[in-house]
């Protein structure tokens, strides 16, 4: 009797699960049947926006539904990330996550979200490819000469970052840590402000993509690339690994995330389509123009990637003693 009840309950649960699965499958098949919101945690006009716009355009074409960008800037990405984490997990709110919002911010601030538990990864949106630049007025012509200069003149070089606790600060901390050099960190409000002081040599170094047009114009020297492969526009500039500093890149990467609890089938559907888009020549050209490459990844690979990056960032933050407040 008891057993039968249990069986009955079990069957009921199973039946309910099948029904739910059935509607879920219908949901997935029709997905998306209304516009999808894509939250960006920064103000319009910046690097994240530059990556989000072509993606929104391509996704809208691919799915026949509008993918609408909603810029929720503020508090270094905190506000937008929180808003994304607390959105309904129905596949109609997605999040374009800059790596710093998932790796750096939660390590340094109390965040109202958990970078791993609050989100379900969908696909890689792009990796930034750039490196350290130096104002030519200083003298050194390449990475080695700059290192020698920094060692001979401790504290004389100043590096402009896009702000405290950004990837661009961590790149400097990593360089200082690995090469045992003393370079002054000057935080700015965004990379445009820093570039404004780099060109007249008020600071001497930076590591942001907005400097690259000035490298092309011969106004700045690109010393290296913080990425496993070289930059297509600067084939003569070596990567950090080639220079003898492996695992020192501090990668800056963007990913699509959904609020945790989003149906896995929707995530799979999006993942396949996104990786497909990333492989098209048109998207590759659009990405290269903004100094981005898009490596295809499965959601599982992305989780591993995120966990590894959080761990590496934690080690670096502790070693370099990076703090907020």
């Amino acid at each position: 009797m008891k057993r039968r009840t249990l069986l009955g309950v079990g069957a009921g649960v199973a039946a309910a699960a099948i029904v739910r699965h059935g509607t879920a499958r219908a949901q997935v098949q029709n997905y998306p049947d209304k516009p999808v919101k894509l939250i960006l945690p920064y103000a319009p006009g910046g690097a994240t926006d530059m990556i989000g716009r072509p993606w929104a355009d391509k996704l809208s074409q691919a799915f026949g539904q509008q993918f609408v960008i909603e810029n929720r800037g503020g508090a270094g990405g905190l506000i937008g990330t929180e808003a994304a984490a607390k959105s309904p997990p129905d596949g109609y709110t997605l999040f374009l996550a800059p790596s710093a919002a998932l790796t750096v911010l939660p390590l340094l601030r109390k965040t109202p979200y958990d970078p791993v538990k609050s989100f379900a990864p969908i696909a890689r949106a792009g990796d930034l490819v750039c490196g350290f630049v130096l104002n030519p007025a200083v003298g050194p012509k390449n990475f080695q000469e700059t290192l020698a200069y920094a060692k001979a003149n401790p504290g004389k070089l100043a590096y402009g970052s896009a702000g405290l606790a950004t990837a661009s600060q961590l790149r400097l901390e990593m360089l200082k840590y690995r090469t045992q050099t003393d370079i002054l960190h000057v935080p700015y409000r965004g990379s445009a402000d820093a570039l404004n002081d780099l060109l007249p040599n008020n600071v001497q170094m930076m590591n942001e993509i907005n400097v690259l047009p000035h490298v092309k114009a011969g106004k700045l020297i690109l010393l290296n690339i913080n990425y496993p492969t070289r930059h297509w526009d600067f084939p003569d500039v070596p990567t950090l690994t080639e220079l003898g500093y492996p695992d020192s890149d501090v990668p800056i990467w963007y990913s699509f995330q959904a609020p945790a609890g989003t149906p896995p089938a929707i995530i799979e559907k999006l993942n396949l389509k996104m990786n497909e888009i990333a492989a098209t020549d048109d998207m590759k050209v659009k990405a290269r123009m903004i100094n981005v490459v898009i490596p295809p990844q499965t959601p599982e690979q992305m989780t591993q990637h995120l966990l590894a990056d959080i761990k590496a960032t934690d080690v670096l933050i502790k070693a370099a003693n990076v703090k907020l407040e």
Binding site: A43, G45, D49, G76, D193, L195, D197, N202
Partner: protein, 502 residues
Amino acid sequence: MELSDLLSNLSLGFSVAAKPLNLVWCLMGALIGTAIGVLPGVGPVATMALLLPTTYYLPPEGALIMLAGIYYGAQYGGSTTAILINLPGESSSVVTVLDGYQMARQGRAGAALAIAAIGSFFAGCVATVAIAVAAPPLTQLAQQFGPADYCSLMVLGLVFAIVLARGSVMKALAMVFLGMLLGLVGTDVNTGNLRFTFGISDLFDGIGFVPLVMGLFGMAEIMANMTNEERRDLVTSRVTGLLPTWADIKASTAPILRGTALGGLLGILPGGGAVLASFSAYTLEKKLSRTPERFGRGAIEGVAAPEAANNAAAQTSFIPMLTLGIPSNAVMAMMIGGMMIHGIVPGPQVMQDRPGLFWGMIASMWFGNLMLIVLNLPMIGLWTRMLLVPYRLLSIAILFFCCIGVYSLNNSANEVLFIAIFGLLGYLFFKLDCEPAPLLLGFILGPLLEVYMRRAMLLSRGDAMVFLTRPLSAAFLGLAVVLLVIVVLPNIRKAREVAFVE
């Protein structure tokens, strides 16, 4: 640059800008810009962000011409609300409020609007030529400014803010400091400390300028009008003449010229350029005037000079964006976004690689300004008629648009609440006879002063002498001291006289 080069560049630019379709985009931009400028709170940044995806489907020239039109169109529109309902639409039209609104109350709204449009038009034309002729050297000039120089310039600006005030210097000083304190709210750039945020994440980036202005000016003005029967009718005397008289134009000519020069120069500086431009132009006119007591009571020079200055600055702020790819404000960051969408990487190479686009955009600014003045002058009659709308209806409409505008900035409901808080504060200031304009300038310049000062100290490795050894910085500081003495001395003397009388 050779003259023949310049002429061939300009003719290329005009041939691009004068294409019928580009003229249409230019007109669209100017129209949208005027509309959002008039609507309080809705600014060019939010509008451009909204329109950015649609520019995908335009040719790059058309897209950028339209986006640029929105920006300078908003400068024209912004002065309309400043003059008519005491509500600055943009940070650069804060000073226009001082005399523009007084003129409107005296029934001279038409003259104020016309002079604002004419001043803006003249400044826009001059600044367009300045960009064409002198963009590279002006860029060089802006690059001479180091953090120490900016810091001293901000000190000078804050001293200007005190001169601005109509009544007591002590009150103005207090308001400047209060503004600076409000500006401290948010994340400290150098340490990452959260200051006075009370755990509200909407405050992590500081108090927003728009909710502050909407509250202090818009809300407070409405409350003041509601509680005061005599004030309720917006126009205290009959509306006289829609167009300025010859005397008005004569009185405005020199201020417009000076405002254009000052605005054009300060506009190239990043950050507070346009704001600094408009109120230093105002201060300059007040100091040069033989009747400074008229300022703040409806002096037409007080409208003409800052309006010319802010439009000149709006236009020259394109220079660092066009020549270096460096955005000097949020609007220019949007322009860069617009370029990137079309595969144009902003930077020093744009001028060589895309001359049609570069010069076409510059030439379109002249067309845009022409369209704006043609649009705006006949509209003045319509705008002034708005003052005849019963205030109980108008005030609700103003509140409504303020709330929508603020919400559209960051999709944040908290910021709408901030309007109410600052509205109460503004009403208190009204009762205490304290002017909110110096507070706003302290609010804008104070944080810049702090950032530049700490950056300068960091780069000089802690040596404070850097402020005196850099010639530009020393000159600004010297000027600030002189100005302060000029302002304070008569007050001290007056205070003594009062003391002796007692």
